[in-house]
């Protein structure tokens, strides 16, 4: 009997002492393939955070394990999520560039006792699929709603929406429509075009024929954006005064050098511009550029990852390095801090990030590079997408 009590005591004493542990964080993202640049930004944000804050929380060492899902592939994402939890024994999952990838993993969080920090995937509904999800990026609803007001205030009463025909595109269309009709404007036509569209001239002709005073567009960042903006200029829409509105995906910093003069003056609304003027952002961009190697490649996923790491560090702090998903998530509900993008907080109810949305205009900086210059701030924007879904 004495022996048993002794050994129990010993075991208790051992387990309660804070001895140094390695805490593994599994990051799933596109690190190869057509979206490798976005994965590279994840990595740059994480590296930047760890370079500035060290790799230790208390006595515990944080170790990042990367897993690659080159394109939106829920099956592969789920398999990798499982592998990370079961084999690698990660305490936290993070990353996720595409919504389907994140959605595929949320059902196993509870059983694995692992919280997930979404660093990009921007569909509102992800938050509803598990109570263990926290998001530090943005939603398309969140970034697209303010631009509707901007458009209306600019004197545009009739708008045509043109979006890529997939989840976030449809979200953007709905968000803009909701905001714009609420302000009193009219959406005369809503066009959804396939993701694989290369030649946008016919779309531009549609815009011209619709008689709209402005166009709201959403396309995923990348090659198609370039064609779209060029077509807008070449087909004389810009010259004829049709105004262009879009969320910031269209003028992602890494696409700006290619867009060049064609994009000058385009107004977009987004949660983060690399050019954001604050001491926090200066510190962040210095570290992130060092991590990514080339300033031109740095863009918004990096800041999502950076803040995601901040949330994970806070979770580790709160749980003392022990695996407890519920406690970890509860600890960051309502957490607020100053991010490189400005003041942010985690909404206790939706676990999504509340942040400023900025209206930006593409401009030429003093050194000849193109930047998204912030011209107006919409403070403390939550995610209207969840409310709309109810």
């Amino acid at each position: 009997m004495k022996k048993i009590i002794l050994s129990t005591l010993a075991a208790l004493a051992l387990s309660s002492t804070a001895y140094a542990d390695v805490i593994k964080v599994g990051v799933v993202g596109p690190f190869s393939g057509p979206f490798a640049l976005q994965g590279k930004n994840f990595k740059a944000g994480i590296d930047a955070y760890m370079a500035l804050n060290g790799n230790k929380v208390g006595n515990d060492t944080v170790e990042i394990i990367y897993r690659d899902v080159p394109a939106a592939d829920p099956a592969q994402s789920k398999a990798l999520g499982q592998e990370l939890i079961v084999k690698e024994k990660v305490q936290y999952l993070a990353g996720f560039y595409f919504t389907p990838d994140a959605m595929a993993v949320t059902p196993i969080l509870k059983q694995g006792n692992v919280p997930m920090v979404v660093m990009n995937a921007a569909t509102s509904a992800i938050m509803n699929t598990s109570p263990f999800v926290v998001r530090t990026s943005f939603t398309t609803w969140q970034t697209s709603t303010p631009i509707a007001k901007v458009a209306f205030d600019a004197g545009v009463k009739k708008v045509i929406t043109v979006v890529s025909d997939y989840g976030p595109g449809v979200d953007a269309e709905n968000a803009f429509k909701a905001g714009f009709t609420k302000a009193g404007g009219e959406v005369v036509q809503a066009i959804r075009m396939p993701l694989s569209t290369n030649d946008f001239s016919p779309i531009m002709q549609r815009i011209k024929d619709s008689g709209a005073q402005g166009v709201f567009a959403f396309l995923p960042s990348g090659p198609t954006t370039l064609g779209f903006v060029k077509a807008y200029n070449d087909n004389g829409l810009k010259a004829s005064g049709v105004k262009f509105f879009a969320p910031g995906d269209l003028t992602q910093e890494s696409d700006l050098p290619a867009l060049g003069d064609a994009a000058l003056g385009i107004q977009t609304s987004f949660h983060y511009a690399v050019s954001h003027d604050s001491p926090e952002n200066k510190k962040f961009t210095e570290a992130a550029i060092k991590a990514i190697g080339n300033k031109a490649e740095l863009s918004f996923p990096a800041v999502g990852a950076y803040d995601g790491m901040h949330v994970i560090y806070k979770m580790i702090e709160a749980t003392g390095g022990k695996q407890d998903a519920q406690k970890a998530v509860d600890a960051v509900k309502g957490l607020s801090w100053v991010s490189p993008r400005g003041p942010v907080s985690i909404d206790p109810e939706s676990r999504h990030i509340t942040q400023n949305i900025y209206l930006r205009e593409v401009a030429k900086a003093a050194d000849g590079t193109y930047i998204n210059k912030e011209v107006q701030t919409f403070e403390k924007q939550g995610d209207p997408g969840l409310a709309a879904a109810k």
């Binding site: 075009m193 002709q205 370039l226």
Partner: protein, 287 residues
């Protein structure tokens, strides 16, 4: 009416860009009987070189085009010597495996060397801006692409149908052993036509870059489109490819204007319909 004209012009421009990019593939597939899935990769190399020369070295657009074509051919020569020569006359599957492998290698190298971001090719002064056609504006570059398409079509048709090299090429394609017996250096003929095809790919990559921007996945992203043009036109036929591009360009552009949400439905519907009626393409010859 204005809209109809407008769409017609867009269709013509799109069709011609398709033609310039795809015709090189038609040459390799039709005349050399090689299913060259690395065609897009060569177009991409051309685009990268042009971008580097024009943007980073600051030389003119004309220099960039010439450099792109010449350097891409120089890069392609050892590839032809070491890799392609082995697959001439092999079954299609071997050719597909080999060329898709080459494509992935080139994608990886391009991604590593040039980075994953979009690359643009700054246009020469006169090609920038837009031209006013009275009822609409169109970028001068599109007009330039239309002219390029016509020049390439005429030039190729002349070279294949009217010159002694064209005669040798057609002879080597139809019966290599007999042509060799009659004193045609088939190896040289093949090497030259391969170089021409690669040069055309590079040229198309540069001219079409405004529509199909250069980035590492270019090589795969547009591969299906190129293959469709070749199969609809009939491999190896210049007029066939030209008709195919114009028809597909018209169908695609009109479909996208009238019902954008249907996406490429009409494009592929047209492809199915054409292939049903002309199984070897518009101008394909029976084997």
């Amino acid at each position: 009416m204005q809209t109809v004209f407008s769409i017609a012009i867009d269709a013509l421009a799109y069709g011609m860009v398709l033609f310039v990019i795809s015709i090189g593939l038609s040459v390799t597939m039709g005349l050399m009987r090689v299913v060259n899935l690395a065609h897009g990769a060569f177009a991409m190399i051309g685009g990268y070189i042009a971008s580097y020369v024009a943007r980073d070295l600051g030389m003119g657009y004309a220099v960039a085009v010439i450099a792109a074509v010449v350097i891409t051919i120089i890069i392609a020569i050892p590839i032809e010597r070491l890799l392609y020569r082995r697959i001439y006359g092999q079954p299609e599957l071997t050719q597909v495996l080999m060329t898709i492998g080459i494509t992935f290698c080139i994608i990886g190298i391009a991604n590593y060397v040039m980075g994953p971001t979009l690359k643009t090719i700054p246009l020469a002064g006169p090609l920038q801006g837009t031209a006013d056609l009275g009822f609409r504006t169109i970028s001068i570059h599109r007009l330039f692409a239309i002219v390029c398409g016509l020049v390439v079509a005429l030039g190729l048709w002349f070279a294949i149908e009217k010159t002694s090299f064209g005669v040798k090429l057609r002879a080597s394609v139809d019966n290599a052993a007999m042509a060799a017996a009659l004193g045609v250096r088939t190896e040289i003929v093949y090497a030259v036509s391969f170089a021409v095809a690669v040069g055309l790919a590079a040229f198309g990559g540069v001219v079409g870059a405004e529509l199909l921007p250069v980035e590492p996945y270019y090589a795969l992203r547009y591969m299906v489109t190129f293959l469709v043009v070749v199969s609809v036109g009939g491999a190896g036929s210049i007029p066939g490819a030209l008709i195919a591009c114009l028809v597909l360009g018209a169908v695609d552009t009109t479909g996208r204007y009238l019902m954008p949400e249907f996406g490429e439905f009409f494009f592929y519907l047209a492809v199915i319909a054409i292939i049903c009626v002309f199984p070897r393409g518009f101008a394909g010859r029976a084997k």
